[in-house]
Assembly symmetry: D2
Homo-oligomer: 462 residues x 4
């Protein structure tokens, strides 16, 4: 037991060993192993700074860097295995270094605190994963552009309140999601621009190593990694703030919640449009599943899961917000629980985006079914009223009323407006003739008269 | 690939194999393996019902029951290993049965739907885990009773607004948490009373097997398990409701959220009372941890994690509520995502309760420090005002004002009320004398005059 | 200013008047006026107890009861007007009593605390409003029963994954919501059974008035109100728990969140089924609205608002849960913020239920459109497979595969299964003939063969 | 009734009047009246565009602009009164214009949709209120700088896990909150930079008015308002996206949730530090309240309310996120419910900031009490270990263990480290002498040796 205790990174003043069930409960290694790479970076910089400040010798520095480099290599190769018995990733790496260099490892954790390490690691994780999210999101954006271009002369029914509203270009529809997700892209990109992994905060009060030493060590490291951060930003401004704040994680979780909300709306629409009833689009079969009981089913499971995961992504955001509420300064153990929500949201959304980019390219339109819907005369009601307002100078509200009554008349008498003779139409307005109706109640007219919108597709290069 | 497809429980009408990344994304085996035991129960009942209805022969029934029994045995022994390649636990068990009995296994999934299985499994899970939660909660309740009895003559400072309010019996304080958690106990117990694992809903429309056959099969099974449910309740009343509803999970997650809220308040108080500043209680060292940088630290990590997990438990509740919002009837794939929040909340809270029951028994009071606090004269202000109201018949509001001014005078003049001569006191009220002050400003007087409360400790047997 | 200060219920020890902006910020009168009635009850009981304990004379008691009675009369008549300048409803009523009886009012607040009053008031509010919710909910349940009976021989398409699944009785569909809401009814009713407005907790430590006095005063009051609570339950068991707990509000908000989730699902389905595309039902026109631009629109706004309010009801639950997280014992001012979420959820849901009960009675089915959907042959696929399993003893999984292939063949060859000659069908299975197809692919057959479900409509009397 | 109907902005095709209870339920005027000013702006621009496109004459334009200008003047003067009977603010203003100019008003709503108006109004609201939030936040930041400067040579105890950790400069503590809130400032400012009130989307499909007309009308209007937006950004890119998206509101609510989380932490700390037990700071009395029962109480109610409102602000965010989940394109009535959460969060936080800026300036430090805490020897443990690592070249982990044992020895033997003779100290390490202890265990030494932090206070000008 004693020996086991010594493998912890603390414990000198403790008489009793830690309770086993509690030790198990408080562990984070089973999820924070994802930070291994970034924890190595912290150590590499720290070792260099220790040497610059004369706390360790050049030889010691070399040995430590080599041991750390070996572990990093394993991580990069995907061969790193965390030790389940370790308390957390920091302890695990410390122990692994000790295995390689013996008691020299005891100097590795000089003058630093896990409070400093963890926030460095998490920021680096956000930077790396944020970049991956942007890459995946840009694939989805490209797919949406592709879909819009492919169907650039196609029209579709536009809805409000899920009731047929007006005919619109299909690309207006598909590009709506492009613009939503493009704002998500910008939101995440802006967020990444504010991030910089800082070090030197100690537990809450700073350390005896000079600012300049950190700066040089960091500079060297970042050059090696070909990363360009502003060095000034990467030094600690306020150590309490540094170790106790997680607003950057909440900000990312918020941005992901908004992105997920957009995905849920896209999924909902595709589910609707691929029902037998709407039937405007066909979904790619290889992203659908069947039923173990009902042989005919082709279910849009991918889209349902995307919609369903919205709960998870919202829940992760709330989870962290609630955890952080009212915490006293500086670090509290509660903060350990920031990681699972973060990892969960990042991983779910990466999976969704990865599949969505290919899913979109499997969507095709059922033009026949769409054209059938265009026979619905209500779809031209607005243009009819606009025609009366624009060309016949009727106050719009009157034109609106008039067309409402015309529709009701058509329903009551069971006669299509398109089939009404001039005599019938003119009772509503002298300017209404069968010829006018034919001109206005036409999908292409509908699109042509909309002048407030520019429909040039944007270019998007990541 | 073809062979792999045949291992799915659906797929006859599909031309293309399912996309790999999507298959991976949509799997649930990595978490729904927890339901293996309950899924076997469903199969045992179902096989029996199939036989009663003549769909399978007696011999087939025997072989299937044996195969299922073997798997159940593995589960009970903790030796069950799910196959990561399977889509979900239902498929995994189906495949395992097939390995044992060959093509006969193809009859196992006759006339039933995974929609029916999953809700049966989840209800059974809630029943079993709910019972475990009650057992653990009752341990915590016993510990709180133990703590209250152990310190039954001790007093402590009571707070409102985190400002010293009045002196109270320590057991009033500790029993407050008992009563909160007792309501949680009752809430969960009441919930469990409403639960019954139903079967026979099919995918959404029922099955051709007769109600009576299910009833007899279920009866037999429950007798074996020595479980007493109302059989009528365990038959499906409405198949759409059965397969599409998850309110029972939300109800459990809500009850757990309230329980967790109580735990967070208890944790917060213990954290406060064990600071150097309050110092009213000592926490058990084996449930605390140290710092890797600061050698003197003894941190209440267990309590902080309990407080911090509140975010998780709230997040899980929101997650499922959001997922279920606005879902059309009946089953949708979104519902698959009900499981992780459920498992997460159940498992976290079980861990917390398990440790908390022992943690409480390690708490001791710092009587010296508490007694020092009793010197604070503000703590007797209410009783002084009440004395004036009760014995001197002052309107309480006047007595309240008077005592407020007395305190302010004491602060301004830097003279303790206890040290004021009669002449000084009588300026505030003729009935105020040094003797009265001595009588009233006494912790035991404070407790004695409270007549509205019965302080007999309740008995609690699970 | 001084005079204004004296109207507060505290302040003796304060030198400076309270900051105006802060006073405004901390007021609750603008929403807690809803508790006026219950606050009077507390005072009525309290005055009686004060008299029993000799704190006030019989004459004083009489005057106070009369003044309180007058105010109660105003409240009951809907004529009560709160004074916006008052801090809260307790202060407002105290001041109003003072206006009526002068300085005698200063005795009203003897030996009690607003901490005790507020929790009494809130519990009473929950009891009263909970009963109203049950009444309204029972109207909705009656409407659902009415709808089910009215259409008791009608069938409809059942969905899973929003894809056509199987034909079901319409009443199975409508009664699914009945059963959901019936559980909500039971959940709220059970909750109300646990509620009892307690008094005598003081600020946190009890009061000098004897338990028996409260008991008698309470008994008298409840008899007057013809209310039957268990008196023992209405006395304070633990004063800290009493004043600092709000789990009863969270429990109600949870029950309302589940109810709202059910309403959101009902709303979603009705929105879908009333689209031009599904067109299974007609919504009552007087609960729909139009568009200011598009003359033809008939939008299901009521249903959309119901669905949309789900966010509000969830948000209210989470708001209170987050507020209560980690609060130290006993009362903290944070708790004042429990009221707005409570009032909001109760009021929104009462409105929804009130309208929903009438809305449901305006729904009619489009039988023509539904029958047209029944031509979809996929809807009979399950019954075809079940037929093969039950009558031809095929392993179900094989039957499932066979039917899957039959459907695909039908789609590829563009020939309806109903139109296939025996020679074509027998290639799939010798038992498949045109006659069999005709028998099985029939909506009434589909319903008739489901034996696992009892379809007797339940009776429901509130 | 008929007349009443005609006051709605729709209804031509409706036979039945709208149900009264539903009309009441669906109204938004009781909260969206806050948008009156912005709705006028939309109308001013729209009227100008209508004229440019020849839909109305110059004279009509003049009359409409004048009527609108009159209403705007009322709004600006704070004299605007909304008509409770109106459906929403758009209808209310339309009706008010009609009162002024008669039937000409019927032309005001030509070729535009409330879908377009509402999103314009809400964006303008966010821009205006966002600016006010920045102004208030900058007041708080100034107050924090003031507090830090005022106490710039003061030290305080730093905490982790709410256990005493290390001595820190008070300004490190107070500036931690400065940096948190500064990031909130930047987050909101960045958000505002992305906002531009767009118009011309119609209901979802654009309008027949030309892009250039909107551009010129908008340009004119913005010049009048001395606002500089990018005009290109203010034209609609995608009309579906424009009318159906509310991500800008979610983004603001997220930023406010993070800001509120920071405020809750600050409030919690101030509550703690002003307890009798910590007693490091005095709170301004005019922001505290007393108790109606306990005459001595001075409660930090402002801070408690700030902490408590965290639930509200989180709930508002989740409310809108949940409402938006899975909504089909384009506008749905659910979206109406975005306004109350937005208004609630903006108004609560404005109140909090307004008071907080003055509250902070009322805080004073209890230097005596703080200095007393500095006698706690644990506070110097880290510096002792760091001394051994830096000056005696001990591996830090060994130094950490050594100091842990020294502390435990001191506790067990009840002898202060400061009082240990050299002979006792040297048993732990030869380099430890009473002189060393005296040097290291000194608050000013502790601060001086921290070299990783720059403590120059930043400048902040809004």
């Amino acid at each position: 037991m004693k020996k086991k205790m010594s493998k912890k990174m603390w414990g000198g003043r403790f008489k009793k060993p830690v309770d086993k069930a509690f030790a198990e409960f408080s562990k984070s290694i089973q999820y924070d192993y994802r930070l291994a790479e970034y924890d190595i970076y912290h150590s590499l910089i720290h070792v260099d700074a220790l040497h610059r400040e004369g706390v360790i010798t050049k030889g010691e520095r070399g040995k430590l860097l080599e041991a750390l480099g070996d572990i990093l290599y394993e991580i990069k190769k995907g061969r790193f295995k965390f030790t389940a018995a370790a308390e957390d990733i920091h302890t695990d790496i410390q122990n692994k270094v000790e295995k390689k260099v013996g008691t020299l490892a005891l100097k590795l954790h000089s003058l630093r605190s896990r409070n400093d390490q963890i926030v460095f690691d998490e920021k680096f994780y956000c930077i790396d994963e944020g970049q991956k999210l942007l890459n995946l999101l840009s694939e989805v954006l490209q797919s949406l552009l592709w879909l819009s271009k492919k169907n650039k002369n196609k029209l579709i029914v536009g809805y409000t309140h899920l009731q047929r509203a007006q005919i619109i270009p299909f690309s207006d529809y598909s590009m709506a999601f492009f613009y939503m997700l493009k704002r998500d892209f910008d939101r995440i990109a802006n967020f990444l621009g504010t991030l910089c992994p800082a070090l030197g905060a100690g537990a809450l009060a700073g350390t005896p190593l000079r600012r300049g030493a950190y700066r040089k060590a960091l500079d060297k490291m970042l050059k090696l990694k070909a990363r360009s951060f502003s060095l000034d930003q990467c030094l600690v401004k306020n150590p309490l703030d540094t170790v106790s704040e997680r607003d950057f994680i909440v900000e990312l979780l918020s941005a992901l919640a908004i992105l997920q909300m957009h995905l849920s709306r896209f999924a909902e629409d595709l589910i609707l449009y691929s029902t037998k009833e709407f039937n405007y689009i066909n979904l790619p079969e290889d992203f659908c599943t069947g039923s173990s009981l009902m042989p005919h089913k082709k279910n849009p499971d991918f889209l349902e899961l995307v919609r369903g995961y919205t709960g998870r992504i919202y829940g992760n955001l709330l989870s962290l917000l609630a955890t952080l509420k009212g915490l006293p300064l500086a670090y509290n153990r509660d903060m350990q629980l920031d990681k699972e929500p973060l990892f969960s949201s990042v991983e779910v959304i990466k999976d969704e985006l990865k599949i969505m980019a290919r899913f979109i390219r499997g969507i095709s339109l059922n033009t026949n079914q769409i054209n059938k819907a265009f026979e619905d005369e209500g779809l031209y009601a607005t243009e009819l009223a606009e025609f009366l307002a624009m060309e016949k100078k009727m106050p719009f509200k009157k034109a609106h009323d008039l067309v409402g009554k015309l529709i009701r008349y058509s329903e009551d008498k069971k006669i299509k407006i398109r089939n009404m003779p001039d005599s019938m139409l003119s009772k509503f307005h002298p300017g209404l003739t069968a010829q006018v109706i034919k001109r206005v109640m036409n999908p292409h007219y509908v699109i042509k008269v909309k002048k407030s919108i520019s429909r040039k597709l944007p270019t998007f290069k990541k």
